[in-house]
């Protein structure tokens, strides 16, 4: 255990603080998660990449900064941006899920071609996994790709494809070997979204916004080299991606960010002059959650150390999505209670404008349930924790999770 800062680290912290102070006017307001990055976002991203505050450990030849792995550096940078409230750069499915997957199993050619544009925010990816008939049962995918004249010809339908309506590319799980057993018949393809035959239809959710899409494929043709690993390896690649998705969805920094926002609300005087933080029953609710968030944050530091040292955290990694999304829902539950009746006004603004704080909390309150379900529902997570993490036997004769 060594969380002390070396001289080098203190210097970095001062540098990052100075960078933020100098450039904060150039930063976009939000992380740009659910929208196509605009010019301001792209310029900010370029600045962060150049300074090494984004993609710090990604090799230079793939467009990163190429610094050696140093956990505390990453923590210092995240902390500085967190404290300042300034955007730490783009986080989307391409950056958080596909890039680490390609770094792990992509070809040299794929890494050189895709990682740079993706981390620069120039290429936006969406995820083609779930299908209407098989939400949790990803391996049951029916969308098929037959090889004809050196191309995959894709037919079928995907659902829950967030950002499909503005994405450039999709990483797609589809059936290429229909004669092989369920899990062995899948492949993982990289598909340009402007390929003829792709149709994207928005899907409105309970928040009232169109956060997801249905994507239809009719004789969509992509070259056979647009595959990650080999034919039939799709399930393996998808699981690597899912591993990173689980970590993304259980993100401890987001939990901490929310906790702090709730604390600030509870410290503000209400119309009768009282503060909820002074009411012991409310304060105790916040404190219980603070304890849980602290555990999640320290756990995250432990996982980062494992990652930096090339150790598989096993169980510790498998619990993150389930634990984090359930905790996030409990945090937003407190937030909407703190807002009370005055927070019920709800006017989401769509993609163009910022939502007011109360609307944002209620969106999160609902969206968090979507995150409990998406990326492998809680039950799927519990299967994974029980079977892969604890070595408990699978259900006899049941399908595969």
């Amino acid at each position: 255990m060594d969380l002390t800062l070396t001289e080098k680290h203190r210097t970095l912290r001062d540098e990052v603080d100075a960078f933020i102070a100098r450039h904060r006017d150039r930063a976009p307001r939000s992380g740009g998660g659910r929208k196509r990055p605009d010019r301001k976002v792209l310029e900010w991203q370029a600045l962060l990449l150049e300074a090494g505050y984004f993609g710090r450990n990604i090799p230079r030849e793939y467009g990163g900064f190429g610094a050696p792995h140093d956990l505390i550096e990453v923590a210092i940078i995240a902390d500085a941006f967190g404290r300042s409230g300034v955007s730490p750069g783009i986080h989307n499915q391409g950056i958080s899920m596909l890039v680490p997957t390609l770094l792990e199993v992509g070809t040299e050619e794929q890494k050189r071609r895709w990682i740079g544009p993706t981390i620069r925010g120039e290429v936006i990816w969406c995820q083609g996994y779930s299908e209407p008939g098989s939400g949790s049962d990803l391996a049951a995918a029916h969308t098929r790709a037959a090889v004809q004249d050196g191309e995959f010809v894709i037919n079928g339908q995907k659902i829950w494809t967030s950002s499909a309506h503005y994405a450039d590319m999709m990483f797609l799980l589809c059936r290429t070997e229909p004669d092989k057993p369920k899990h062995a018949g899948l492949s993982y393809l990289l598909v340009p979204m402007n390929t003829p035959g792709i149709e994207v239809r928005p899907l409105r959710t309970m928040t009232g916004r169109a956060e997801f899409n249905e994507t239809f494929f009719t004789d969509v043709r992509v070259p056979v080299d647009q595959i990650v690993m080999g034919r039939g390896d799709g399930w393996r690649v998808a699981n690597i991606t899912l591993k990173y998705e689980r970590l993304l969805l259980g993100d401890a920094n987001k939990l901490q960010h929310r906790l702090e926002a709730i604390r600030r609300m509870m410290q503000e005087p209400r119309s009768d002059g009282s503060r909820l933080l002074d009411c012991a029953e409310w304060r105790d609710r916040l404190l219980r959650l603070q304890g849980e968030v602290m555990a999640a944050r320290y756990h995250n530091l432990r996982l980062l150390t494992d990652q930096a040292e090339g150790v598989d955290s096993g169980l510790g990694r498998l619990i993150v999505k389930y634990h984090g999304t359930m905790l996030a829902h409990r945090l937003t539950s407190l937030a909407v209670d703190v807002l009370g009746s005055a927070g019920l006004a709800y006017e989401p603004q769509g993609e163009a404008a910022e939502d007011d704080p109360a609307t944002t909390w209620h969106i999160d309150y609902m969206y968090d349930i979507g995150l409990i379900i998406g990326g492998g529902s809680s039950n799927i997570q519990k299967n994974i924790i029980g079977e892969r993490g604890l070595g408990l036997p699978r259900e006899p004769k049941a399908g595969e999770a």
Partner: protein
């Protein structure tokens, strides 16, 4: 003694649910939830024909003189169908307020108008209910100034009944001078709230209970809390029913998902939590009329407990539906949001439990 519903109550419940089911198919509900005033005159009229407008009104004023338990059954059915209509404030709290605190003349004028469905009163208790937002009013020379947020049954209201901190209540015409009523679309698209800004607005009536006005106001609030508890019960029951039905149909991993213990236990947990809530709502409603010494405790605990249970049911039922539960397609979210709304208005769970502690003398007010 019986702890249960009468045959009359079951029959009425059945016909009301039949009406709502026919009148509010998903596409109609979705249309009514689009921007507008959250009030549908046809639906209002239909509910009046079923007798809802006058149900709580005493027979001497031309009403049916039914009990708060009957009203709770209505609230439950409205919650079940996520019906976009005024009820808890306009047809329950307002009637109770006039009965408890109005003088004879006021009652004779206003109660029949409520019973006829022509006067719809949005109600705001402000700080007395623990609602958040603005709540600062002063009454001087029959004129009301200040602001109060979050009036219930704001959509289509012809009048507003707002409570002062001392327990008196002023009735305002929605079209009076000096009144600015802002209709806020709430996350529950079926029920908007109203924020009032008042500048020397003339009060049509002032209700002044001759005795213990704060206690009288608390009784009005408690009647409202029971209605919200019943609304949550109905909404959660609808979500549970649909989750169970979905679990019996949906196939994943080659099996109906309801045969997986993971899904089955979610449903069992929901049922185990929710089923005792029904008796609690019945008792709380009944106590408002018949067991006055327990009325406040039962009402406050019903609101708080239903809020806790139905939040869990709302999440679990959505989870059972998987991604489909999160979409707009199934319309499951109308009940989800109904539960969200009911939880926050007329006081959060913590506030209601606090009031229950006060009501049983554990702590001072």
């Amino acid at each position: 003694m019986r702890f249960g519903l009468t045959e009359d109550q079951k029959l009425f419940d059945h016909s009301l649910r039949g009406f709502l089911s026919a009148r509010l198919p998903p596409d109609v509900l979705r249309r009514l939830a689009e921007p507008g005033n959250g009030f549908d005159a046809d639906l209002w009229k239909g509910l009046g024909e079923l007798g809802l407008h006058a149900m709580l009104v005493p027979e001497e004023y031309g009403g049916a003189g039914l009990s708060l338990l009957d009203a709770a059954l209505v609230a439950e059915a409205l919650g079940f169908h996520a019906a976009p209509t005024p009820f808890a404030a306009s047809l329950v709290m307002a009637v109770r307020a006039f009965q408890a605190a109005a003088d004879d003349v006021q009652r004779r004028i206003w109660i029949p108008r409520i019973a006829a469905g022509e006067t719809r009163i949005g109600v705001g208790l402000g700080g007395l209910s623990g609602q958040t937002g603005r709540a600062a009013l002063r009454l001087q020379g029959g004129r009301l100034s200040g602001a109060v947020d979050g009036l219930l049954d704001g959509g289509g209201a012809t009048h507003f009944l707002v409570y002062l901190a001392d327990g008196r209540a002023a009735l305002l015409d929605a079209d009076a001078t000096g009144i600015t009523a802002t209709l806020r679309r709430s996350v529950d698209r079926t029920r908007p709230l109203v924020d009032l800004d008042l500048a020397e607005t003339p009060a049509v009536e002032v209700l002044e209970a001759s005795n213990a006005p704060l206690q009288v106001a608390a009784r009005v609030r408690d009647a409202g809390r029971v209605m919200l508890a019943a609304d949550m019960l109905g909404a959660a029951q609808a979500m549970l029913d649909r989750a169970v039905a979905y679990a019996k149909e949906r196939v994943q991993f080659g099996r109906v998902i309801g045969s997986f213990q993971g899904v089955k236990y979610m449903c069992a947990d929901m049922a185990a939590m929710l089923e005792p809530c029904r008796a609690m709502v019945w008792y709380a409603a009944y106590a408002q009329d018949a067991i006055l010494e327990e009325a406040a405790i039962a009402a406050n605990h019903a609101k708080a407990h239903l809020a806790e249970v139905t939040r869990e049911v709302a999440r679990l039922a959505t989870e059972v539906h998987g991604g489909m539960g999160f979409t707009d397609l199934l319309g499951l979210h109308f009940q989800f949001k109904r539960i969200t709304f009911d939880r926050q208005v007329l006081g959060t769970s913590e506030r209601c439990r606090h009031d229950a502690a006060v009501a049983q003398g554990w702590i001072g007010a």
